[in-house]
C-alpha cells in the first residue's frame, strides 16, 4: 500500500508536468491550428538553459528561473517568426512535418551544445522529505506540483481577464471575426508560441530537478499526445485534466502491468488508452466536435 501511494504521488507529479506541456500544446493548437511536435524539445531547451545558468554562471535559482523563462519566450517568438509564419496556408501535413523538422533541428542543436550525458541540478530544495499523514514526500515533488498548479491557475486567469488573453481566445474561436475586430493575428500567433515555450520551459526545469537533465527529456513531447487527446485537442481544462490522468495511469501501469510484461508498459499504456479514446470518443472529454459542411 505504501508503495502504491508513493507511485501514485509521483504519478501526480509527472502528471502535473504533462499538464504544463499539454497546456502549451493546446494553446498553440487552439490559436494557430498547428500540432507542435517540438513541444518536448521546448521543454528540454528550458531545462538546459536553466541548468547552465545555475551551474556555469552560478546565478541563484530564482534569477536563473526568470531568465530561462525570458529566453524561452524569445525562442518561441523566433520559431514562430522564422519557421511557422511562412507556413500559413500550407496543408496540415506540411505544417506537422515542419514541427517534426524543428524538433530534429533542436535535438541536434542541444546535443551539439550540451552533449548527451545526464546532468544534475545542484540541490535547490532540501533533501529532507515532508511528511503528510505518515507518507514521506520529497520537497521537490511538493514544489513541482505547487508550481504547476500556480501556472495553471495564472494562465487560466490570463485567458479570462487580460486583454491579450481574451484576444487569444477570440482568435482561437474565429480567426476572421477576430481580425475584423482589429486583433492582430500574427501578434497572437507569436504570443501563443512564446507562452507555449514558457510553460514547456517551466515543465523542463521542474522535471530536470527531479530526474536530471538529458536528451531523453524530449520524450515528454510525445507523451503529451495521449493527454491532449484524452482531454480534447482544443480544451485547456481538458489538457490539464488529461495530463494528470495520464501521469497517474502511467504510475499505476508501472505497479500492476510491469511485472506481467517485464517492464516498459509505462511507455505504451498511454498510447493504448489514446487509441481506445479515439475509437469511442474521438474528440476527447471536452473537445468540440467538428461539423463539416461542403
Amino acid at each position: 500500500m505504501e508503495q502504491v501511494v508513493q507511485s501514485l504521488i509521483s504519478g501526480i507529479v509527472v502528471g502535473s508536468i504533462y499538464a504544463l506541456v499539454a497546456l502549451g500544446f493546446v494553446l498553440i493548437y487552439k490559436s494557430t491550428a498547428v500540432i507542435n511536435f517540438a513541444q518536448g524539445e521546448l521543454l528540454m531547451f528550458g531545462a538546459y538553459i536553466c541548468l547552465t545558468l545555475v551551474t556555469t554562471l552560478k546565478l541563484p535559482f530564482l534569477v536563473a528561473f526568470v531568465v530561462t523563462l525570458l529566453a524561452a519566450a524569445l525562442l518561441g517568438f523566433l520559431l514562430e517568426r522564422l519557421f511557422l509564419r511562412p507556413m500559413i496556408g500550407e496543408p496540415i501535413i506540411s505544417v506537422i512535418m515542419l514541427t517534426i523538422g524543428l524538433a530534429s533541428l533542436m535535438q541536434g542543436f542541444i546535443h551539439v551544445t550540451w552533449g548527451s550525458d545526464t546532468m544534475v541540478f545542484p540541490a535547490i530544495f532540501s533533501p529532507e522529505p515532508l511528511r503528510f499523514a505518515g507518507i514521506a514526500i520529497s520537497q521537490v515533488y511538493v514544489y513541482s506540483v505547487l508550481a504547476a498548479v500556480i501556472c495553471l491557475v495564472l494562465f487560466n486567469l490570463y485567458f479570462r481577464f487580460s486583454s491579450s488573453g481574451i484576444a487569444m481566445r477570440a482568435v482561437a474561436n474565429d480567426q476572421q471575426a477576430a481580425q475584423a475586430m482589429g486583433i492582430s493575428i500574427s501578434k497572437i500567433f507569436a504570443i501563443a508560441w512564446a507562452i507555449a515555450a514558457i510553460v514547456a520551459g517551466i515543465g523542463g526545469i521542474l522535471i530536470g530537478n527531479i530526474n536530471g537533465v538529458n536528451t531523453s527529456l524530449s520524450a515528454f513531447g510525445l507523451k503529451v499526445f495521449p493527454a491532449v487527446i484524452l482531454g480534447g485537442l482544443d480544451s485547456i481544462p481538458g489538457a490539464i485534466l488529461g495530463g494528470f490522468i495520464i501521469g497517474v495511469l502511467e504510475a499505476l501501469s508501472g505497479i500492476y502491468l510491469d511485472p506481467v510484461f517485464e517492464g516498459g508498459t509505462k511507455e505504451v499504456v498511454p498510447f493504448i488508452v489514446l487509441v481506445i479514446i479515439l475509437m469511442i470518443k474521438p474528440y476527447g472529454l471536452f473537445g468540440t466536435e467538428e461539423i463539416e459542411k461542403i
Binding site: 501535413i93 506537422i96 487509441v275 475509437m279
Partner: protein, 351 residues
C-alpha cells in the same frame, strides 16, 4: 531523338500513358540499362552497392507511404513500424516453417497489409491531425510488441534471418542482392503507377481533395481508405521482408519512430502525390547522411570533435533540410524537375 516542344495530346489515354513520348521511352530504357550495368562497374565498392541496395529497398516502402499520404491524404506516422511487421513476419515464417523466400515475402506483405488495415479502421472517424496521432500510437504499440513478444521477434536481441534465395540461388552479397532489389523496386514502381492510374487511384485522389464530395459522387469512403492503408502496408511489408533478408538480423530499433519520420520526409521532399518524386526523395534522404559523413570525414582530422557530435549534427541537418524544403520548395523535388523540364522544352525561347 527530338523532344516535343508542346502538348500534342488528343485523347485521355495519351494523358495517362506511361511512355509520354518516344524520347522519354528511350531515356528510361537507357536509365534501366545503366542501372543494370552500375553494379558491374562498382563491383568492388561494397559501400556504394550497400547504399544502392538501401535506396532500392526504401523506394518500395516510400511508394506505399505516398499512396497513403500523398494520394489519399491520410497521414501516417507509423510506416516504420509497418516495415518492421513485414520484416518480422518474413523472418518468422522462414525460420519456423522453412518456407522459400518468395512465399515469405508475399506472406509478409499480406500480414502487414492486414495489420495496417486494423490501424486504418479509426481513419473513418478521424482525419488530419487526429489520424496522425492515431498512427503515432500504432507506431508506439507495435514497437512495444517487437521488443516484448520474444517468442516471435527475438526481443531486443534480434532475429537472425537467412539471406534471400530463389530456386537455390542465394542473394547473399551486396552485389547479388542489388539485382533482386532492383527487380522489386521496378515492379513496385510499375504497380504503384498503375494503381494510381486506375479506378482506386482516382478514388484515392477524390478522397484526398474533398472527402465529402467524393462520398457524394459515390466513392465508398471506408472501403477505399482501408484499401489505401492495405496497399500502403503491403508495400511496407515487402520492403521490410527484403530488408530483413538483406541485412540478416532484425532488431527493433530499425523500425522506430525516427524511421517513420524519415519516410514521411522522403515523400514530402520528393513531392506528395508523385511517383517520380518519391524516387527522388528517397534517394535524397538516404544519401543525406552519407554526404554528411563524406564531408565531416576529411574535416575531422583537423576538428576531431566532429566524430563525437556526428550523430547530433546529422539530426540537426536533417531537421534543417526538411524545414528548408517545406518553406522554399513545398511541392518537392518532382515539381522542381518539372520546372527544369519545361524550361528546356521551349529553350531558347522560353517565354
Amino acid at each position: 531523338m527530338a523532344i516535343k516542344c508542346g502538348v500534342f495530346k488528343t485523347t485521355y489515354e495519351d494523358d495517362e500513358a506511361i511512355w509520354q513520348t518516344k524520347a522519354s521511352k528511350f531515356w528510361i530504357t537507357v536509365l534501366i540499362v545503366s542501372l543494370i550495368i552500375f553494379p558491374f562497374v562498382f563491383q568492388d565498392s561494397k559501400y556504394l552497392l550497400h547504399i544502392a541496395d538501401s535506396v532500392l529497398i526504401a523506394i518500395i516502402a516510400a511508394l506505399g507511404l505516398n499512396i497513403l499520404t500523398g494520394f489519399t491524404g491520410q497521414i501516417s506516422l507509423g510506416h516504420g513500424a509497418f516495415i518492421g511487421v513485414g520484416a518480422y513476419a518474413s523472418g518468422y515464417f522462414m525460420n519456423q516453417f522453412g518456407l522459400p523466400f518468395l512465399s515469405c515475402l508475399l506472406i509478409a506483405g499480406f500480414i502487414t497489409a492486414f495489420v495496417g488495415m486494423i490501424f486504418g479502421i479509426p481513419s473513418l472517424r478521424l482525419k488530419g491531425l487526429y489520424l496522425a496521432i492515431a498512427t503515432l500510437a500504432a507506431q508506439v504499440i507495435l514497437e512495444f510488441v517487437f521488443i516484448r513478444w520474444r517468442v516471435v521477434t527475438g526481443g531486443s536481441q534480434g532475429l537472425l534471418v537467412a539471406p534471400a534465395s530463389i530456386g537455390g540461388f542465394a542473394f547473399d552479397s551486396e552485389f547479388k542482392f542489388y539485382f533482386l532489389a532492383l527487380a522489386f523496386a521496378i515492379l513496385a514502381i510499375l504497380v504503384a503507377k498503375n494503381i494510381v492510374r486506375m479506378k482506386p487511384g482516382r478514388a484515392f485522389m477524390a478522397i484526398r481533395d474533398r472527402y465529402i464530395s467524393a462520398e457524394i459522387i459515390g466513392v465508398p469512403l471506408f472501403q477505399y481508405k482501408l484499401l489505401a492503408f492495405g496497399i500502403s502496408s503491403f508495400f511496407a511489408g515487402v520492403s521490410g521482408s527484403l530488408w530483413a533478408h538483406y541485412i540478416g538480423i532484425i532488431t527493433p530499433e530499425h523500425f522506430n519512430v525516427v524511421v517513420s519520420i524519415q519516410y514521411l520526409s522522403m515523400i514530402i521532399i520528393g513531392g506528395l502525390g508523385s511517383i517520380f518524386g518519391t524516387i527522388l526523395g528517397t534517394i535524397f534522404i538516404v544519401l543525406l547522411p552519407e554526404i554528411l559523413r563524406a564531408i565531416s570525414g576529411p574535416l575531422s582530422s583537423s576538428y576531431p570533435i566532429l566524430i563525437d557530435i556526428f550523430n547530433a549534427l546529422r539530426e540537426g541537418v536533417f531537421g534543417l533540410v526538411i524545414i528548408m524544403f517545406l518553406i522554399f520548395e513545398p511541392d518537392g523535388l518532382a515539381h522542381r524537375w518539372r520546372m527544369i523540364k519545361n524550361y528546356w522544352k521551349l529553350w531558347p525561347f522560353s517565354y
